[in-house]
C-alpha cells in the first residue's frame, strides 16, 4: 500500500503548465528524490500536495484518504509536514519557541510541547542554540530549524524543499547524515534537490521533472544513465552558459 498516491496532478498558472499529469506514489519508509532543472515544477508540486495551491486537476490520496485541495493546516494535521525552499523561520522567536509551535499540534499543554521540542532539538543538534533569536542563525541552522519544527508535528511523511541548497560541504554532509537518521526513525521523505549529486546516494528512488512533466521514475543508478534526464540537465547547462 502506498503512503501517498498522486494521480494525474495538473497545475496551471494562466497559460503556464507548472505541473502536468503527474502520477507518482510514495511507499512507507522510503526516501523519494524529486529532481529537475530550475522551473521544472518541483516546488509547485509540493505546494499542491501540502495545500498551498489548489491543483487544477487530479487527485491526491494519503493513507487511503483523499486530501486533494485540503488546507495546509489540515494536511499537516493529517501527518504531512514540509519545509520551504526560501526559509520561513519565525524570526523574532527563539529556536526553542519555533519548535514548540510545531510541537503544540500534538501536545496542547505547554510543558508537554516544551518537552517534545527539547527532544527534537537534541535530535537535530540545535540544543545549544535553543535560546537564540532565530533571525540570528546561519542559513544552515535556519534550514535545520525548519526541519526540526516540521518534525515536532510528528509527521508520517516529510517534504523537504531544497534542504541542502546554499550549504557548504561540511553542512551538506551534516544534513545528509540527518536525513539518514530520520529514515532510521521510520519517517518517509520526499526530498527536492536541484543538484543530482546530493540525491543519488540518499534516495531509494528518484523522480525527475522537466517542464512540469515526469520524465523518469527509477532507482538512482538507472536515472544517472537515463537519456531524457541527461538531455534535460544538459539543456539546462547549455542555457546557463548563455
Amino acid at each position: 500500500m502506498a503512503l501517498l498516491e498522486v494521480q494525474d496532478l495538473t497545475k496551471r498558472f494562466g497559460g503556464l503548465m507548472a505541473n502536468q499529469d503527474i502520477d507518482l506514489h510514495v511507499s512507507p519508509g522510503e526516501i523519494l528524490g524529486l529532481i529537475g532543472p530550475n522551473g521544472a515544477g518541483k516546488t509547485t508540486f509540493f505546494n499542491c500536495i501540502t495545500g498551498f495551491y489548489p491543483p487544477t486537476q487530479g487527485a491526491v490520496h494519503f493513507l487511503d484518504e483523499e486530501i486533494t485541495g485540503w488546507s495546509p493546516e489540515r494536511v499537516c494535521q493529517a501527518g504531512i509536514a514540509r519545509t520551504f525552499q526560501i526559509v520561513k523561520v519565525l524570526r523574532d522567536m527563539t529556536v526553542l519557541e519555533n519548535v514548540m509551535v510545531g510541537a503544540f499540534l500534538r501536545y496542547p499543554r505547554t510543558a508537554d510541547a516544551r518537552r517534545k521540542a527539547l527532544e527534537v532539538l537534541g535530535f537535530t543538534e540545535l540544543a545549544d542554540v535553543r535560546d537564540q533569536i532565530s533571525r540570528n542563525l546561519t542559513i544552515a541552522d535556519k534550514k535545520r530549524l525548519e526541519l526540526a519544527r516540521a518534525l515536532a508535528t510528528e509527521p508520517k511523511l516529510l517534504f523537504l524543499d531544497e534542504a541542502m541548497a546554499g550549504l557548504n560541504p561540511t553542512e551538506t554532509n551534516e544534513a545528509v547524515a540527518m536525513v539518514r537518521r530520520l529514515r532510521e526513525q521510520g519517517i518517509t521523505m520526499v526530498l527536492v534537490e536541484h543538484v543530482m549529486k546530493v540525491i543519488m546516494p540518499l534516495a531509494d528512488r528518484v523522480v525527475v521533472l522537466d517542464s512540469g512533466e515526469v520524465i523518469a521514475d527509477d532507482v538512482p543508478a538507472k536515472i544517472a544513465t537515463n537519456e531524457r534526464v541527461i538531455e534535460a540537465y544538459l539543456g539546462e547547462k547549455y542555457r546557463a552558459t548563455d
Partner: protein
C-alpha cells in the same frame, strides 16, 4: 541560565513594589486630579492590553476597537436605564454583544492582508458610530445620561463622595486583564498568535488554523475592551456615539500599546502610564488655546516610534537586556570554547543569504 533567573527575580520584585504602590495610591495621593489621572491610566492599561491581544500578539492592527468599547458601554447602560438591571450584570451582556460582533467583523476582515484589515476596521467603526447616532431608542446623537444612584456601594458601581471605589474596581480589572495576558502568553494560543504574526504560511504548514486563532484573539480582545467600556460609562456617567465610538478612541488604544511595545505584557501599561498623563495635561491646560494639539502630538509619536523604535519602549528594554546577557555570555564563553564558536559563527550570518537557493 543564571542571568535569566536574575531578571526573572527582578521582574517579580518590580511587580510586587508596583502592586504595593498601586494599592496604596489613593491614600498617598488624595488630590482629585491625580486620582482621576491614575484611574484613566489604569483604564487605558486595560484597553492597551486588550488591544494587544489581537493587535500585538496576532499582529492584526485594528483601528476599530472603539466598537467593542462602545458596545460594552452602551449595553450595560441601556440595560440599566431601560430595565433597571445592575451594570455588573449588564457588563457581561456587553461582553457577549462585543464578542459576537467581533467575530462577525473578524471573520471576513481576516482574509484581508495587512493594511486592508486596518482600513476595514476603521470603516466598521464609522458604521457603528453612524448607527448609534441614528438609533433613537438608544439616545441618538445626544447619548445617554446614567441615573445617579446614591449610597457608595460596590454593587451600584457608582461613587460620588470619593473615587476610591472606581480606583479599586479598575485596578482589579487591570489585574484580571494582566493575568489573562500572562496566561495567553504562556499557552498554545499565545505561541500560535505570535507564529501567525511572524509568518502566516509557516504557521499554516505547522497545522495552525490561522483564521480560527485570529478569531479567538479578537474575541478575547473584544471581551476585555467591553468590560472597560462598562467601567467608562459608570465612571463618566454619560455616553454618546461621538465619545465612545470615536475613531480617536481606537487610535489611542493602538497607540498606548505601540508606544509601550506590542506583544508584551508590560508594554501597554508603560504606554498608558506615559501617554495618558500627557493627553490629560494637554486636554486640561492647553484645551482653550490649542484644541487639536494632542492629535498633533499623537501623529508625531506614531511617526517617531515607527521610524526609530518599532519595538516600542519594551523594545529598548529588551535591547539593553540582550546587551547585558551577551556580555555575560562572552564571559562564560571564555571558559566554554564550543559555545563561543557557535556564537561567532551565527553572528557572521546575514540575511543576505536568506534567499539563496
Amino acid at each position: 541560565m543564571t542571568s535569566s533567573m536574575k531578571t526573572n527575580r527582578l521582574n517579580w520584585l518590580i511587580l510586587i513594589i508596583l502592586a504595593a504602590f498601586l494599592l496604596a495610591f489613593p491614600r498617598l495621593f488624595t488630590q482629585p486630579f491625580l486620582q482621576r489621572t491614575m484611574i484613566l491610566i489604569l483604564l487605558w492599561s486595560v484597553l492597551g492590553l486588550a488591544w494587544n491581544m489581537i493587535g500585538g500578539y496576532a499582529g492584526q492592527v485594528s483601528l476599530g476597537h472603539a466598537i467593542f468599547f462602545g458596545l460594552g458601554a452602551y449595553t450595560s447602560t441601556l440595560i440599566l436605564t431601560k430595565w433597571d438591571i445592575s451594570p455588573w450584570i449588564g457588563m457581561f451582556g456587553g461582553v457577549v454583544v462585543a464578542v459576537v460582533v467581533s467575530a462577525i467583523i473578524g471573520w471576513p476582515s481576516f482574509r484581508l492582508a495587512g493594511h486592508y484589515f486596518a482600513i476595514a476596521t476603521i470603516a466598521a467603526g464609522e458604521i457603528f458610530a453612524v448607527m448609534f447616532r441614528n438609533w433613537r431608542w438608544a439616545g441618538g446623537a445626544v447619548g445617554v445620561y446614567l441615573p445617579i444612584i446614591r449610597g457608595e456601594r460596590i454593587a451600584n458601581f457608582q461613587f460620588h463622595e470619593a473615587k476610591y471605589g472606581y480606583y479599586y474596581i479598575i485596578l482589579a480589572m487591570l489585574a484580571i486583564t494582566m493575568l489573562a495576558t500572562y496566561l495567553i502568553e504562556r499557552s498554545r494560543i499565545g505561541y500560535y498568535l505570535k507564529a501567525i504574526r511572524e509568518d502566516p504560511d509557516a504557521a499554516r504548514s505547522l497545522g495552525i488554523n490561522i483564521t480560527r486563532y485570529k478569531l479567538y484573539a479578537i474575541m478575547l480582545s473584544a471581551a476585555f475592551t467591553a468590560i472597560a467600556g462598562t467601567f467608562y460609562a459608570q465612571f463618566v456617567l454619560y455616553i454618546s456615539p461621538n465619545t465612545v465610538f470615536a475613531l480617536l478612541f481606537s487610535i489611542q488604544m493602538c497607540l498606548v500599546a505601540v508606544l509601550g511595545g506590542t506583544g508584551t505584557l508590560a508594554g501597554p501599561i508603560i504606554g498608558a502610564a506615559i501617554l495618558i498623563p500627557m493627553a490629560e495635561y494637554t486636554r486640561v491646560y492647553l484645551a482653550g488655546r490649542a484644541g487639536g494639539l494632542h492629535l498633533v502630538v499623537y501623529g508625531l509619536l506614531i511617526m517617531l516610534i515607527s521610524i526609530y523604535q518599532p519595538g516600542g519602549l519594551m523594545g529598548l528594554v529588551r535591547q539593553w537586556q540582550q546587551r547585558w546577557s551577551t556580555r555575560a555570555q562572552r564571559r562564560d564563553a571564555a571558559v566554554a570554547v564550543p559555545a563561543h564558536h557557535r556564537l561567532e559563527r551565527s553572528e557572521g550570518s546575514g540575511d543576505v543569504t536568506d534567499g539563496a537557493s
